[in-house]
Symmetry: C2
Subunit: 311 residues, 2 copies
């Protein structure tokens, strides 16, 4: 141990050991950036399952004990629980510690956690744009953040050294890091993540409710496009409920735009305006190309699904 280089953080406390928390633990071990990883789970069952996978050095069912002496505390729980967690850990935080999170909304973090933070503790909210439709401590893997963006939303008066350290941390986990204002983050994510999830959940619900088409038919013939939406609509329900409740304004704003555009498309179909349809369908192709060029998706047809692809 003594011959090794100093780790970036002596102790990292993960509040939540589901998909994101466990993936962070795996990635921290891969990068060797934490002297000690402590994991907290809010139920005995999840704690036992996390212990069985064994990605942390210690496991706690007590918040205070988990964060004590930690140099970095990461809230990797549903955003709706943040206020309560912030309040519960406040008294046990080490002076100078960085408190961060992995929530998909960011203005709510400053609002809910900020007021509880003692003087000298650095609250720097963060959001790794990575995930899968699976959840739980068994779902994590070290490569989850590789090549994905992590957005930091430090308050205007944040300690520059602490922000820099958190940036280095996420880069060591494989991420590319960008910094922006929390409100802008919430607007960007509303269109790139929250509204897409909402409409995916919605159409899967619509299909499930039909009387004229059976559920069996929906399932059998889903390869026509519907199945793509079901993946997103299989994401963690608690996490996503909290996202929508905590990013209300931005989601409603983007949803308003979506609805307006959809009404125009609906009208084009009703009146047989083929040119309007063709023009939109041509324009959208270019965006896919840009996403592939930016390394944010696979160029393989059908995402390279192993069941569908030859090469």
């Amino acid at each position: 141990m003594s011959a090794k280089r100093e780790p970036l953080f002596n102790k990292v406390a993960l509040i939540g050991v589901g998909l994101i928390g466990s993936s962070m633990a795996h990635a921290m071990r891969r990068a060797d950036v934490a002297g000690h990883i402590a994991g907290y789970a809010h139920t005995p069952e999840i704690l036992e399952r996390a212990k069985a996978v064994g990605f942390a050095d210690s496991f706690y069912s007590d918040l205070g004990a988990c964060v004590r002496d930690a140099d970095l505390v990461v809230l990797a729980a549903p955003v709706g629980a943040f206020a309560e967690i912030g309040k519960a850990i406040a008294g046990d935080l080490k002076p100078g510690a960085i408190v961060s999170d992995t929530g998909s909304v960011k203005a709510a973090v400053a609002r809910d956690v900020g007021p509880h933070m003692p003087q000298g503790v650095h609250l720097i909210p963060a959001h790794p744009i990575a995930g899968t439709e699976q959840s739980g401590p068994e779902a994590g893997f070290a490569e989850l953040f590789d090549g994905r963006w992590c957005i930091l939303t430090p308050p205007v008066d944040a300690d520059a050294a602490a922000v820099e350290k958190l940036k280095t941390f996420w880069e060591s986990l494989g991420s590319k890091v960008e910094t922006m204002d929390a409100q802008h983050h919430d607007l960007v994510l509303a269109i790139t993540s929250h509204v897409p999830h909402l409409i995916a959940y919605n159409i899967v619900g619509t299909a499930d409710d039909l009387e004229t088409v059976t559920q069996n038919e929906v399932i059998k013939f889903s390869a026509g496009g519907f199945r793509d939406f079901t993946r997103i609509a299989a994401s963690d329900p608690t996490m996503w409920r909290d996202v929508f409740l905590n990013n209300r304004e931005a989601v409603l704003e983007m949803l308003g735009r979506f609805n307006e555009d959809l009404a125009a498309l609906q009208r084009a179909i009703r009146w047989g305006d083929g040119d309007a349809l063709f023009n939109l369908f041509t324009r959208t192709r270019a965006i896919r190309r840009s996403i592939i060029d930016a390394g944010q998706d696979s160029a393989a047809p059908n995402f390279g699904r192993n069941s569908d692809k030859p090469q």
Copy 2:
């Protein structure tokens, strides 16, 4: 040659050699079900590209010459071109030939092609529920139809032997085959394919139009869900324009249901009804499971995208 078993069809004519037509040619060769494969392309450029790949035995820029002596003629072109093609090939069809297609809408095929068919020719519309977001003669591959459903919509007075022969043909290409009424097909596909494509095209267009979020941000942070929609929204514009123009009623009906449900979700977000959100998000998870169990999608997280997954 003389020692080989008789192929299912002596000559198959493919009217259209894009993703679907070329995949059929590859799959026919794999299964050895056609004595001769003839391919037609409607532009000299596509014809040359198809010849370069070389998946057919002969290539034509003349419709009549392509279908002459064919036992099976398959229209694998955008549905909007079917009426014209039906009229153009009518005089050259072999008596007893089967005329089929691969269009994503089915009532329109009987309406547009049916009136042109001479006595003794069997029109049996078909729809293989398979594809990728890529198009053109280079995009095809033999495995495209493996394990996917192909729906036949024979008219009520269809020749039973011809229907059976077409069923055997699609099974030899790897498909599972189901038969249903054309109107019901159009309703089922409206929810499993057409409306999902429409809302994917729509949200990609909405994101492209925003002033408050840059296109660069949309592309960088697309891993949050948006990128999934861009794959579908990269599908062939002509094909999809024709689908919406030719399945208007069913699409508008399903879109009405989608909009109604989305309005309820929007209201739940506005009023902070977390239970309504949680209940929907829980229900939709089960549908994903059923689709995986039915072998219609990969169980791997993120569709097993090679860029994201370790196992």
